[in-house]
């Protein structure tokens, strides 16, 4: 199981309380994790990446194992500790006021 931690507003939107766990078939990448996340929680479609281009929304970043993976190619493998479920993938909103 892959663990994903969502920002607070998206937890409310998906009606989940803490981190979510999802099944990912095949290589564990940003794209495969987000595909699986959106399939399990379709209300999140368009909130993390664009509906059409699937580009990451500009005020969101992806972290894992204290590293920033936001600018990595979407099909690049995520760390083994994320793939094994030892560490979560963190989806974090920019600190931009509000």
């Amino acid at each position: 199981m892959i663990r994903v931690v969502l920002p607070g507003h998206l937890r409310a939107l998906a009606r989940v309380s803490a981190e979510v766990q999802i099944d990912v078939k095949g290589p564990v990448t940003q794209r495969s994790v987000l595909d699986a996340l959106e399939a399990q929680y379709p209300m999140l479609r368009g909130t993390i990446r664009d509906h059409v281009t699937h580009e990451r929304r500009p005020f969101l970043r992806f972290f894992a194992c204290e590293e920033d993976y936001s600018l990595e190619p979407p099909d690049a493998p995520l760390p083994e500790s994320v793939a094994s479920g030892a560490e979560p993938l963190l989806i974090i909103g920019a600190i931009a006021g509000g």
Binding site: H9, A12, E38, P42, M43, G46, T47, G93, A96, G98
Partner: protein, 394 residues
């Protein structure tokens, strides 16, 4: 006894204010969607339990919410609580997907518009400013969006299709964003003619279709805007809001950036009716529910100073369809008031006497149960109010 439900969109959530027909005691529910910008929410004229809401965020984009119980509970259309995907594993909901139509069959592919610096800029979807439910079908609803475009759903908000003839009709490259973005903020469905729709865009102007949205034409003749290179141009006017009385859909009232305007021929031509207003800059304009010649505005000092003149919050009412205005001040703050009233933040109910409501950027929602003669705050400390709509309940 009949009652009213006031739907308030704010910068940090939605609030639903309800009262009986006396409109003296109010129940307040909310915040719904706490922490999100709620640009607009509005109820279906044919099913008062059916509400649509535009929820958005600079971080997470656009969400459409729907309630089928008058705002008690909400869902994203097509994605009921507890249900996830179809048996094929595909997401059910496409309710948040607003994609500009680039198909060749609908006239024009994705075009460009004018950017602040005069260069051309591609259309980029940002948010839904206004939701306008059909007067005949609760599952049909229109969405005016930024960057300016008009979308329609015929399945209760589950899927949205652009009426691309508007954006692609030819003048699009001359449209430009106002300070709030290039927003399509006004959608008026002619109650007597289902083929006719009026819309308005900042800063492009007003447009009309007479064929259900396939083709459009600008209706800005008579508008005069000194802040654009050609003050009498066909396109480029910063229209802030337009209102009609449903008994006379050919008579339009407009609050422009500067100037209060009137058209008696469905927008074919306009004339100014600012008359004795202390300033004719402002955002809101609305029409009394039972008196088609009685209109309301809230004058704002200037485009550079978005607050009432002299720190006095005054609604102005004309009973003559413009030109002759009276200040309505009873119950409104008359000193040190520096709030604004945004373009979609005024509405009327259809009780007798007509109720008038407006919300401020300071978080107050004022109500008048006597057509504006006196005012009382329903709530005083909400987040900044973006929109106010009213439902008159049976």
């Amino acid at each position: 006894m009949s009652g009213v439900r006031v739907l308030v969109g704010t910068r940090k959530g939605a609030f639903v204010l309800t009262s009986d027909g006396k409109r003296q005691r109010w129940d307040v529910s909310g915040p719904h969607f706490a922490g999100w910008e709620i640009y607009h929410l509005k109820g279906s004229p044919v099913d008062p339990h059916r509400l649509y809401a535009s929820q958005c965020s600079g971080w997470f984009g656009q969400i459409i919410q729907r309630s089928d119980d008058g705002g008690k509970t909400w869902t994203q259309p097509g994605t009921p609580p507890g249900e996830r995907t179809t048996p094929e594993g595909m997401p059910k909901g496409e309710s948040n997907k607003f994609v500009y139509d680039t198909s060749s069959g609908t006239g024009k592919p994705l075009t460009t518009h004018q950017w602040y610096d005069g260069t051309q800029h591609p259309w980029e979807f940002k948010r839904v400013w206004h939701l306008e439910p059909s007067p005949t079908n609760p599952d049909t609803v229109y969405a005016g969006v930024e960057d300016a475009g008009l979308f329609r759903s015929t399945d209760g908000g589950q899927n949205w299709q652009e009426l691309a003839g508007l954006r692609g009709h030819g003048t699009g490259p001359k449209w430009q964003p106002g300070a709030g973005g290039m927003c399509l903020h006004t959608v008026i469905l002619d109650p007597s003619n289902p083929q006719r729709i009026y819309i308005a865009i900042s800063a492009a102007g007003a447009f009309r279709t007479d064929d259900g949205g396939k083709t459009w034409r600008p209706i800005n003749k008579g508008l005069h805007s000194q802040y654009i290179p050609d003050p009498n141009a066909e396109i480029g006017h910063c229209v802030h809001h337009v209102a009609i009385h449903r008994s006379r859909p050919n008579v339009l009232f407009m609050q422009k950036h500067w100037d209060v305007m009137r058209s008696d021929n469905a927008g074919d031509s306009w004339h100014e009716v600012s008359g004795n207003l202390p300033t004719d800059f402002g955002f809101v304009i609305d029409v009394h529910a039972h008196e088609p010649e009685t209109i309301y505005v809230v004058p704002i000092k200037s485009d550079g100073e978005h607050f009432p003149p002299d720190g006095k919050l005054r609604v102005y009412r004309s009973r003559a369809g413009g030109n002759e205005w009276e200040a309505l001040t009873k119950g409104l703050p008359q000193d040190n008031c520096y709030v604004n009233v945004l373009r979609d933040a005024m509405a009327v109910d259809s009780l007798d006497k007509c109720g008038v409501y407006f919300g401020t950027t300071g978080g107050q929602v004022y109500a008048s149960a006597d057509a504006g003669d006196s005012w009382t705050p329903i709530v005083q400390h909400l987040p900044g109010v973006l929109s106010v709509e009213v439902q008159t309940l049976p």
